[in-house]
């Protein structure tokens, strides 16, 4: 058990790529911390620095009460699970799990007992005498986990450990890993590019972009109060709709002006975000999560705000339906949304003609059909606002 503290950590690779920039992170003892971000943002680099597989260019790394910057991996009391498992192919499952204990010179009886225990925890007992080549992907993944837990380290480091599994197994293993961590209460740093994994597994989630830490918070906070446009666009599926709107003062209320109409900023939102007043007469990015758009025909108690568009695509997911609406409103084009967008050219073209595609997750009873023009309720109480220049959320 140990806390892990990163202070102003930097990593500059020999080819002078600056992979981690001034990373500050306080990982609490026993916490499950998820490092999430798009591919290439430096997640693995950060994890490998904690593991001791990469040198630290500058900054201080503490595990427990020791500064471990210059300690070899084996002296850091950590265990790591690799993305591709990295099993020893010529050893049996039992030998794979026992390897670290054997190197540490533990007595044979103790090794056997601990291997048995780890195998039991991960339901690997029937395969102890098999070689990795004779196992399925899920079993190999569990062997990799077993190799980590058998050592009872102070910290688990996991680098996308589930990304090689098929979708269904991944969901199962998500629960297995999360439960295992809760039982063992071992501090865990878990790297993934999958925001669903991050949100479901982490006690806290740290969002990384281009080597910088953007926000670290509990999953709910990340969802409710994204600190900037990138976090807003990255967390949540389908992604938050981000529109570039003008903000006008009308009496004592603020109105967001879309080409398609006006959305009144509710007094409660304005009270929570007094900083918005400074943007009156200028532009802001308004963010609306798909699940905060509703079909007015279903349910009551809807507010007055509406958005109108043509249904381009209707994806039924069973419990809910995702509607893709073409709306007269300018999509927000910033470095953050560009990075989050699948098709940058499309985004720019849409911005030019002032049209965007807004995704709405509506009740499965919705009758909206492709080609129809529909009007959806906008839950403006839960709208987000960002500065279009800095990308920061607007609060005070």
């Amino acid at each position: 058990m140990a806390a892990v503290v990163l202070e102003q950590l930097n990593k500059i690779y020999p080819n002078s790529s600056h992979a981690i920039i001034d990373l500050d992170l306080d990982i609490i003892d026993g916490e499950f911390l998820v490092l999430v971000g798009p591919s290439g943002c430096g997640k693995s680099t950060a994890l490998r620095m904690i593991a001791g597989l990469e040198d630290i260019s500058s900054g201080v790394l503490r595990i427990g009460d020791r500064v471990v910057n210059d300690l070899a991996p084996k002296d850091r009391d950590i265990a790591m699970v690799f993305q591709n498992y990295a099993l020893y192919p010529h050893m049996t499952v039992a030998q794979n799990i026992a390897f670290a204990l054997k190197l540490a010179g533990r007595p044979k009886a103790e090794i056997n007992e601990r291997v048995q225990h780890a195998a039991q925890t991960l339901q690997l007992e029937p395969w102890l005498d098999r070689k990795p080549g004779q196992l399925s992907g899920g079993q190999r993944q569990r062997v990799a986990m077993g190799r980590a837990i058998v050592r009872d380290p102070a910290v688990f480091l996991m680098d996308e450990p589930l990304s090689n599994l098929d979708a269904k197994l991944r969901v199962q293993m998500r629960a297995v890993v999360a439960r295992l961590q809760r039982d063992l209460k071992t501090t865990t740093v878990y790297v993934t590019h999958d925001q669903v994994e991050a949100m479901t597994m982490g006690d806290r989630v740290a969002v990384l972009r281009d080597g910088r830490l953007l926000q670290v918070d509990a999953p709910e906070t990340l969802y409710e109060r994204p600190a900037d446009l990138f976090v807003a666009a990255f967390i949540g599926s389908p992604a938050m709709n981000l529109l570039d709107v003008g903000l006008e003062q009308n009496g004592d209320q603020l109105e967001a002006v879309l080409n398609a109409g006006r959305l009144i900023v509710p007094p409660a939102v304005l009270a929570a975000r007094p900083g918005l007043l400074a943007y009156a007469g200028g532009r802001v990015v308004v963010g609306i999560r798909p699940e905060h758009l509703h079909d007015p025909a279903i349910g009551s108690d809807h507010g007055p705000a509406r958005i109108r568009g043509v249904v381009e695509l209707r994806e039924s997911l069973g419990a809910v339906i995702d509607l893709h609406l073409r709306v007269h409103a300018k999509p927000a084009v910033t470095t953050e949304t560009r990075q989050a967008a699948g098709d940058i050219e499309l985004l720019e073209r849409q911005a030019q003609v002032g049209e965007s595609v807004v995704v709405a997750t509506v009740d499965s009873r919705s009758k909206a059909r492709v080609g129809e023009t529909v009007e959806l309720v906008v839950d403006t109480e839960r709208a987000h606002f960002f500065d279009p220049e800095t990308g920061q959320a607007i609060w005070d």
Binding site: K74, A86, Y88, F99, L103, G133
Partner: protein, 324 residues
């Protein structure tokens, strides 16, 4: 032995067309398309001369020199005379064949095992350890492959008989002591080690550097140092490459004549089989029928070594280690 080979073999995945294949894979694919019957025909043609020699080695001198070996089919008269002559020392002053066989072993065993061991260490260091001047050192080692063995015969002979000394300003520095090695097996196997090492390091480096980095990192985190990684991961995973080079080096040294003649030629009782073989047929080649038997005596061991090591050519050794 075949059972082990098949269970650990992973079938090659079908390769999507349009992706450029390695030359080896292309050749493999072409060959795989050749009908088995044709392959058997080639095998037959290839083995026929060997069979002929084997049969000849059991025929009497007269018969060998007057008729073809295939006449055994109609006139099956076989004898062990040739083998007796090969092993006999009567009428010569040279030691018997067993002595030469042992001499060959005394050269080939150190000349095979030592370079493999050294090269494996070196290859691991070049592939997975960081040290200053690594690249240049490696380039230097590989460049040594270009040194022709003939160029070094005289310097080596001098080294073995007088050692190497450097005299600077009246001070003599001994670089290599005078061990009086000429005429001993050590002279031969030292030379073979020297000339085998660059290729061995090169080949093993290619193999060892292609092992997945992740398992070494996993082992590092599990607490293994370089020595433990080498012994517990690199060696077991490099068995196919070690066996391949082992066979190669063994055959090369076993069949060597030039090095043996240059360094041990003056001491007939220390000479390996190849030198004895060359003298066996007589000054004018009049006893060439004896060569048939002698040849079979001398290929017996290489054949045994080949079949013993072939089971280590196992594909799919890395199966299940890393994915993607």
């Amino acid at each position: 032995m075949t059972a082990e080979t098949t269970t650990t073999t992973t079938l090659p995945r079908s390769v999507p067309t349009g992706i450029s294949l390695g030359l080896g894979a292309r050749i493999h694919r072409r060959l795989a398309a050749v009908p088995t019957a044709v392959l058997w025909l080639i095998v037959g043609l290839w083995t026929l001369p060997s069979l002929g020699m084997l049969v000849s080695s059991f025929r009497a001198e007269d018969a060998v020199k007057t008729t073809g070996w295939w006449t055994v089919v109609t006139d099956p008269k076989l004898t062990l005379d040739n083998y007796r002559a090969v092993f006999s020392t009567a009428g010569t002053d040279s030691p018997d064949m067993w002595r030469h066989f042992l001499n060959s072993l005394a050269i080939v065993i150190p000349a095979t095992i030592i370079p493999i061991a050294l090269a494996a260490f070196a290859a691991y260091a070049f592939a997975w350890m960081d040290f200053k001047g690594k690249t240049w050192l490696f380039v230097g080692v590989v460049a040594l492959m270009a040194v022709p063995i003939q160029m070094s015969l005289i310097p080596l002979l001098q080294l073995y008989t007088g050692g190497a000394h450097l005299t600077i300003g009246g001070q003599t520095l001994t670089l290599f002591p005078d061990l009086n090695l000429a005429g001993t097996p050590a002279a031969a196997w030292l030379t073979h080690i020297g000339f085998g090492l660059p290729l061995a390091i090169f080949l093993l480096h290619n193999y060892i550097s292609a092992l997945p980095r992740d398992i070494f990192e996993a082992a590092t985190i599990d607490g293994a140092d370089h020595m433990q990684i080498f012994r517990r991961l690199v060696i077991p995973l490099s068995v196919p490459a070690l066996a391949a080079f082992g066979i190669f080096q063994f055959l090369w040294v076993w069949n060597d004549y030039l090095v043996a003649l240059s360094f041990i030629g003056g001491a007939p009782d220390k000479a390996p089989m190849t030198i004895r073989l060359a003298t066996l047929s007589g000054g004018r080649g009049q006893d060439w029928h004896l060569l048939t038997a002698a040849a079979f005596v001398s290929i017996a061991l290489p054949l045994a070594v080949f079949f013993a090591l072939q089971r280590f050519f196992v594909r799919g050794l890395l199966a299940g280690s890393v994915k993607g």
